[in-house]
Symmetry: D2
Subunit: 203 residues, 4 copies
């Protein structure tokens, strides 16, 4: 087991690649910290730039980009789930991704383990003003239902003051609290992923 830990990152922004994204900015912060813990972090997958079909199976047929994304996610030890906040809630794109993972429930191995078992997931959440805790509650519950493990302090987030419209990507300075939290998330997630890689759940 000499190889480095790997992390896949997804960006559940509502927009395709063209526009700059605060979610990408937050994913960058986490990537820096994960790299400092010797984790190889892949470039974020911008879900909205692909054709991910609605559904709850792992393959919704011709033209569905989910099977390839699913494979990239499951090839890594750690999932960094990035989403913006809209209306105080996770984005519809985030929900779409979670629904596609519902299929894991029926994809258990002989020991009853879903493909997500022994992998850890963390959240990267950004919004203008409110909703980060709720978004992490929705992501953690759904991911945990379908087999992911949630390490201690697994959410790194930023929101501005209520009813304002400042974007994380436009902040002049990175808030120290974000830096500190990103460090905790990366340290805990990489430690736990390492343990679970060495000693997977027996099922």
């Amino acid at each position: 087991m000499s190889s480095r830990l790997t992390a896949a990152a997804i960006n559940c922004s509502l927009s395709a690649k063209g526009r700059a994204s605060s979610t990408d900015a937050m994913l960058d912060v986490l990537a820096e910290h994960f790299q400092a813990h010797d984790v190889e972090v892949a470039a974020p997958i911008r879900i909205a730039a692909h054709q991910v079909k609605w559904g709850v199976s792992s393959n919704e047929g011709a033209g569905d980009d989910w099977p390839a994304i699913r494979e990239q996610i499951l090839a890594a030890d750690i999932l960094i789930f990035g989403t913006p906040i809209w209306m105080g809630q996770p984005s519809s794109v985030a929900k779409l991704v979670l629904e596609r993972m519902d299929a894991f429930l029926d994809e258990t191995d002989a020991a009853g383990r879903m493909p997500s078992y022994s992998k850890v997931a963390v959240a990267a959440i950004v919004g203008n003003e409110d909703g980060a805790h709720h978004v992490s509650s929705q992501i953690f519950q759904a991911l945990n239902d379908v087999g992911w493990t949630i390490p201690a302090v697994a959410a790194c987030y930023w929101v501005g003051e209520a009813m304002r419209a400042i974007d994380f990507k436009d902040l002049e300075h990175r808030p120290r609290s974000v830096t500190r939290t990103a460090g905790m998330v990366a340290a805990n997630a990489s430690h736990l992923a390492r343990l679970l890689r060495q000693s997977p759940y027996p099922g």
Copy 2:
């Protein structure tokens, strides 16, 4: 003000029109009860059968079916928001619709009123096993943020016993509790919609 009240219904199922839908079955129950209160209920709009683009504006450009759906919804006095439950949460399609309504915040009239003001919204929710209260909390909060009024007892729902897989559309008998609740939802919503049509919020 002699014309009848009208209701628009949306079905946020993940699948397009082909497959039978428990959400449609629940929308049918509510339609019956609304008709008994002299409300004209349009056929449900199956969102997934249209091209509704991701975004938070009212028109996301060429090929976006939302502007036409938006018009149908806003032409009615009442919105019946139908969604299945996936992973204990509203469907991604439901979230997509809510996000598109985020634009209402910037579409106020001279009196500061969003296009949804003086209209009422209710929820029709179905799932195999769990999540109806949470789904109504998500729908009501988001709809209320963007101007909808929520009448007393505004959610009609059905879910089966935990971790089972029975569909509402396959039940042999309509549960009496669903019939009773649908009656309350329709009675309250139509009463309130009538009051607000006669006396809209002044802004």
Copy 3:
């Protein structure tokens, strides 16, 4: 029906009366605006300063202060539900109050109407950093389940920037967004309460 509309206000802070409360500060903002709409607003009831027992009935026996509070709440046309945010969620005291209202489900009149019918509820929410939308989702869903009507734009809230610890009561200036929202909440709630007082739900 010549008498003025009335509003009851509750403060679900975790602390009893001694300490200054940001929730009280937000309730004050709303009270000003309600008074401008000719609504008589009672002094906030600080729940934690009373002995409200745990339970889901309207009277949990000797020493239970809920029956008197319940009466004050139900004597008014409008409920202003004030709560701080803890861990991104409504306070345990807020939950306690909602649970006591669960009894309304069994307290219907001959027309099937709960004691909360034809009354409107709004939320006053404050926190250091995050959670207002989620708190309103929890309050609105639970209150609506037990018969309250939610007027358009029914939540007035403030939270500071992520992971900071500034209190609303210590802000040097009242944010304009809070003033504007309080104005909308008070205008809409008083309009709707007036309509429902004149024309209650028939049940």
Copy 4:
């Protein structure tokens, strides 16, 4: 590290010890399965039978029973968090317990680790009809914020059909899905707790 793993269990029912509790029945199911994985499970602590004061510190002064309960919880490797569902949400007593754990944020050791670090938490949830997924989302988010680790498939729950009033404790047969889920929760939690006991988060 030869000693057995231990688990603390809490019951956040609204009632004190006298009445039979469905939450206790679910905690019993989990205890059986944890014991099969060689975990010593303490008798459930019925929170409502103690004087746990409202607050967000670890000691709210004379007459506060939380410090002793906190010690029992932190002495164990695993926390089994049991709560009933009321109005589709966790009980006010569950919220009270979570709020008391908010103090962990300020109780870090020299390596920045909260007292809950390297301990795992699972949920035992029961209700008449709906809300289990939401309750787990609220518990997992709050517990994770204050340092707990959530193993794969960490919630064991039961709810009945919508708008019914059957209690878990009164079921004639234990549902097989509950037995199966309890087995998964216990297997995963004990495996992860063992790993984290041997190799705690370095901070």
